[in-house]
């Protein structure tokens, strides 16, 4: 990777992060919103690993492992919430979730 450089890796990371952000802000299906969040977490992991490779230490790798553990916990609780929601309202559309709207 000596001939590629840091910038293309960070550009890919930024592209994936913005893609995930667009998904979170525009989609209505709760499951696809969750998948977009996973995409954003992966973009951040890629930036961690790229900077870690650049500075030649391993802290970024350890952080990437921590981020994956937190993402696994988030996915488990989030999908349980989606199942609970579907059981009560028979929908996963975020537009129908407005009971807290004042």
């Amino acid at each position: 990777m000596e001939s590629v450089g840091l910038f293309p890796v960070l550009a890919l990371s930024a592209t994936l992060f913005v893609t995930g952000m667009a998904g979170v802000l525009t989609r209505k299906n709760a499951l696809i919103v969750f998948m977009s969040v996973e995409l954003m977490l992966n973009a951040v992991n890629l930036a961690f690993v790229a900077f870690s490779r650049q500075t030649q230490n391993l802290d970024g790798h350890v952080f990437a492992v921590f981020v994956m553990a937190v993402a696994a916990a988030e996915a488990a609780v989030g999908l349980a919430l989606v199942i609970l929601l579907f059981r009560n309202r028979i929908t996963v559309s975020l537009d129908d979730l407005n009971i807290l709207k004042g």
């Binding site: 450089g5 299906n29 992991n45 650049q54 488990a76």
Partner: protein
Amino acid sequence: MTQPVLFYLFSLVAALSGLSVITARNPITSALSLVLCFFCLAADYVLLDAHFVAVIQVLVYAGAIMVLFIFVIMLLNIRDDIPSPLGDVSGRAIVGLIVSGVMGIGLITAMDKGIRDATFTAVDENYGTIQAVGMELFRAGGPFLLPFEVISALLTVAVIGAVILAKKEI
């Protein structure tokens, strides 16, 4: 000199499959595109000498987490009832696209000349292996010992929370 070719190839596929995640009508299509994206990112990790992170990416993300997603999608059996990929174009969708576009331009332009000119230097062959990452993680007196234990408590709490939320009668 095959490394740059492989990197750009996998990056292109990762970006396109990431786009497919948010534009697909069917959640299953989204989930499978996300699996493809994760595999391409794992290949990029290998090219960045992060061997352990690449293995964990395939095992935990493409394996465990995405199986959970696909399992829930099939369990709920949702019909794709939206007419167009982005739903009916609402004010929220337009604002969301503008905000993320500005964010993307901002992120790319924020990388100054120092980052644009930065190149990678050669690392020793032990870099990024399970042994090296493990030594960093569990080094006595190192900063990651307490966070590692806290993460295990967090995963336990998440498992118990998920069971309590999703079970009909406890």
